[in-house]
């Protein structure tokens, strides 16, 4: 039927985010509840599941244009938009936001995890209250993708970053009411929202429930209208369907890849043969079968097709060593490599597989260890607490690590530069290949998507062949809501960008 005004959407939240500041956040625990408070310059269409350059929509910007050999991106801003505290929104706010992100302003973010996104941006300039331009060092068509991410809301100039952590002020459809750590997050309808008639909901209430069973039970018992987005594992999905047959559930990729980080700086994985053997011993399908009952994707660095925009075509994928269909043949070859390196049935290689103490990490690690047995590698699981994980990785105090890499936008620039460029903070393995880095820049500047894709595929394939960070699979997860909840679209190639909820409504 027609969208109806009214009602509060009740959702549970999987854990208590550190604070309410999306710019400082690095997990979708922050995005989901607070994205509705803000607007971006541009945003992915909230009702098209696949984010792609074609689904970019203006938001606070009414339009944008490329100039100066694609090195200048200019936005015309919407007029008459007000911050939740009544102050008018202007181009100054946009400049403030990006200066903050680029570390150029007086005020500092406590954490700035996505500073690297703006590496190619020289400067932000305003021209009048309602025009703002990004000056780039070189063309970077992907910048728009980053600006459209849920991670890139526009912050007001007049509120300090510290206040944004505890009491965020935005221009979005919902106003922040309160955030009680470990308890609840409450948003209420912004009656002065610049999109007339929106939002439909009177508010959104998140109850924080860390225990998954409790949360699911509560959803089944009708305490919630919706589960936390992409929080439902495949086994649980079955459970929910059996208990709440009316609920609508969707399963979508989360654009989080599960991969292996290899410490190639010290023995034994300084030996490329052993690295290759390990990569070839993987039975990716087994991972997917066990952990997702078949419902996950195998691919390279970029999210596989069809949900992914940049994924390699299947035939290309299967030419990569270790991706071939015949696992046994792969392993035979892997064994040979191992023997070449001096290992065999009588001389096993003992390896520690480090990972974080979370089920999403531990479970694949267990399977990994089991699979490595087939090529004379005796793995031992080394479970690390969250607090120790990155310091440990940074110290290179591991042999193999089982890691999850989340991609906030389905875009090669974000993925490649962040994870594989020399010196990048998130390039844990310090994989550094100048050749490939050049290729990164080439694809990055290509404005024609159809020409850019083959470039990306080649890079992706090369990365896999180099065993830079072997990708095991790309996870999927489910989201459920009660039948009367309408206007919800779960993004199929990102889990950070689809929570504006301005036109979600309740058919009750």
């Amino acid at each position: 039927g027609e969208p109806k005004q009214g009602g509060v959407l009740r959702m549970y939240h999987r854990d208590s985010p550190a604070n309410a500041s999306i710019l400082e956040g690095a997990t979708y625990s922050v995005n989901v509840p607070f994205m509705g408070v803000f607007n971006n310059l541009v945003i992915y269409d909230q009702h098209i599941a696949q984010n792609s350059p074609d689904t970019l929509r203006p938001e606070l910007a009414e339009s944008w244009s490329w100039g100066n050999d694609n090195k200048k991106l200019t936005f015309k801003l919407r007029q008459g938009v007000k911050w939740h505290d009544g102050k008018p929104f202007t181009s100054a706010d946009v400049k403030c936001t990006f200066d903050l992100l680029m570390g150029k302003s007086q005020q500092k973010l406590r954490q700035n995890p996505r500073k690297a996104w703006y590496n190619e941006v020289n400067e932000i300039t305003t021209s009048g209250d309602f025009e703002v331009s990004f000056d780039l060092k070189r063309p970077q068509p992907s910048l728009l993708a980053m600006l459209a991410s849920g991670y890139t809301p526009i912050y007001p100039c007049h509120v300090s970053p510290a206040d944004m952590r505890t009491h965020p002020v935005g221009t979005g459809p919902f106003k922040f009411v309160e955030f009680k750590a470990n308890e609840s997050i409450k948003l209420t309808r912004n009656p002065d929202y610049w999109k007339k008639g929106l939002p439909y909901l009177d508010g959104i209430e998140y109850t924080i429930i860390t225990n998954r069973s409790t949360a699911i039970l509560a959803f089944v018992a009708g305490k919630f209208d919706m589960t936390f987005p992409t929080h439902i594992t495949i086994p649980l999905l079955k459970d929910i369907k059996s208990q709440a047959p009316n609920a609508t559930c969707v399963v979508e990729p989360t654009n989080v890849s599960t991969n292996i980080i290899v410490n190639s700086t010290s023995a034994p994985f300084d030996n490329i043969d052993i690295r290759r053997a390990m990569a070839m011993a993987l039975d990716r399908k087994a991972f997917v079968d066990i952990l997702f009952e078949g419902q996950a994707d195998i691919g390279g660095t970029m999210l596989p097709l069809p949900q992914g925009v940049w994924g390699m075509p299947k035939d290309k994928l299967e030419t990569i060593p270790g991706y071939g269909r015949d696992v046994n043949a792969n392993r035979e070859e892997a064994k040979k490599l191992m023997q070449k390196a001096g290992y065999g049935p009588d001389k096993h290689l003992a390896v520690k597989v480090s990972t974080r103490n979370l089920a999403e990490y531990r479970d694949p690690a267990v399977i990994l260890i089991d699979q490595l047995k087939s090529i004379y590698i005796d793995g031992e699981l080394d479970v690390v607490e969250t607090a120790n994980w990155f310091p440990k990785v940074a110290r290179k105090d591991y042999m193999l690590g089982l890691n999850l890499t989340g991609n906030s936008v389905d875009d090669p620039d974000q993925s490649f530069y962040e994870n594989y460029s020399c010196g990048s903070e998130r390039n844990y393995t310090n994989y550094c290949n100048k050749e490939i880095e050049k290729l990164f820049d080439v694809q990055s500047q290509e404005t024609d998507t159809s020409k850019r894709k083959p470039l990306v595929w080649d890079i992706d394939k090369k990365l896999q062949e180099d065993v830079a960070r072997p990708i095991i699979f790309h996870a999927r997860a489910g989201t459920c809501w009660q039948p009367y909840v309408k206007g919800i679209t779960i993004m199929s190639n990102s889990s950070y960008n689809g929570f504006r909820y301005e036109d979600a409504w309740l058919d009750k």
Binding site: A26, R110, P113, E183, I209, S213, A215, A221, F390
Partner: protein
């Protein structure tokens, strides 16, 4: 009596001081601090940012300074600010206390009001089927992991009533209030009721062997009078001690129960704070808990004197 009180108070202070040191040091021994945790989600640690943040939070200072800073604040009632929420720690802790207190109080009530009578019955009927049955039930109470019991209760109530008692901060009806507190309290209380019952039973059995029980019988007192007036009054002493010790255990049980029933009390909050290495919260909360536990033990000692005239706190 006065001298005793002063001495006890002094010992309590010594204990609390010890606890403050232990928890302070333990937290620093635990690898990683709030900064690591904050950065963990981001997937990398920027050393400069990290140093900045550590400086801002004051966790780069020498331990002695940090300790002094904390403890002097604690004594002044200044609990500092939560690292995570950046709100005053007191403001975070205080509203959660009544919730846990209600829960703990109810659980204790449950434990005492079920445990003691059943313990007496089981002791008086020692060796009968009833005794066996009660003992088995109480032991099963002690054998079920409490999270498991909680989940069973939740699952069962969803399966049977399509409803579940999930925490409701503003219960409208009596029933809601009941579900909010009573069910989880019963889940925790079951275990401690089992414990109370066991202690009551063994204490009663011991007392029933005493000479003065025989004296009471020789006076012609009825079984009921002997069991409840003479025996229970004496048997209650060890029970009281155990209930005092239970106070500390209860907090542990509440951590799990609050998690399962999603109750925003201090116990679960503490676990979260430990996870976040939120020193101001953990340190102050642990101190508050310790104050409660230590006071509970103190009250128990005082109750002892009420129940047992032989104990006069002169030394």
């Amino acid at each position: 009596m006065f001298a005793y009180l002063v001495r006890r108070l002094f010992l309590m202070l010594v204990t609390l001081f010890g606890i403050s040191i232990v928890i302070f040091l333990l937290l620093r021994i635990v690898p990683g601090n709030i900064v690591d945790i904050l950065f963990a989600a981001a997937g990398y640690v920027d050393p400069a940012d990290k140093a900045n943040l550590e400086k801002e939070l004051g966790i780069d200072q020498p331990l002695i300074v940090q300790y002094w800073h904390w403890i002097s604040g604690f004594l002044r009632g200044d609990f500092g600010y939560s690292y995570v929420s950046e709100k005053p720690a007191l403001q975070e802790i205080l509203p959660r206390i009544p919730i846990t207190a209600r829960l703990a109080g109810l659980a204790l009530l449950f434990s005492v009001s079920i445990g003691i009578p059943l313990g007496v019955i089981s002791a008086v009927k020692q060796g009968t089927r009833l005794d066996y049955a009660l003992r088995v039930v109480s032991l099963s109470g002690l054998s079920l992991p409490s999270f498991w019991l909680g989940l069973l209760i939740l699952t069962a109530s969803v399966a049977m009533f399509g409803q579940m008692p999930i925490f409701n901060p503003n219960p409208q009806t009596w029933l809601e209030a009941f579900a909010t507190y009573a069910v989880p309290a019963a889940a925790v209380g079951f275990r401690s009721a089992a414990l109370t019952m066991r202690i009551t039973r063994s204490s009663m059995l011991e007392v029933l062997r005493q000479d003065y029980i025989r004296t009471a019988r020789a006076k012609g007192a009825s079984d009921a009078a002997v069991n409840y007036q003479h025996a229970l009054k004496n048997a209650i002493l060890p029970v009281i001690t155990v209930i005092g010790i239970e106070a500390a255990f209860l907090i542990g049980g509440l951590i799990v129960t609050e998690t399962v029933f999603n109750i925003p009390g201090v116990a679960r909050f503490l676990v979260e704070a430990i996870r976040w290495r939120d020193y101001p919260i953990v340190q102050n909360l642990v101190m508050l808990i310790a104050v409660v536990v230590v006071s509970a033990n103190f009250i128990v000692d005082m109750l002892y004197a009420v129940f047992d005239p032989r104990i006069r706190y002169t030394d």
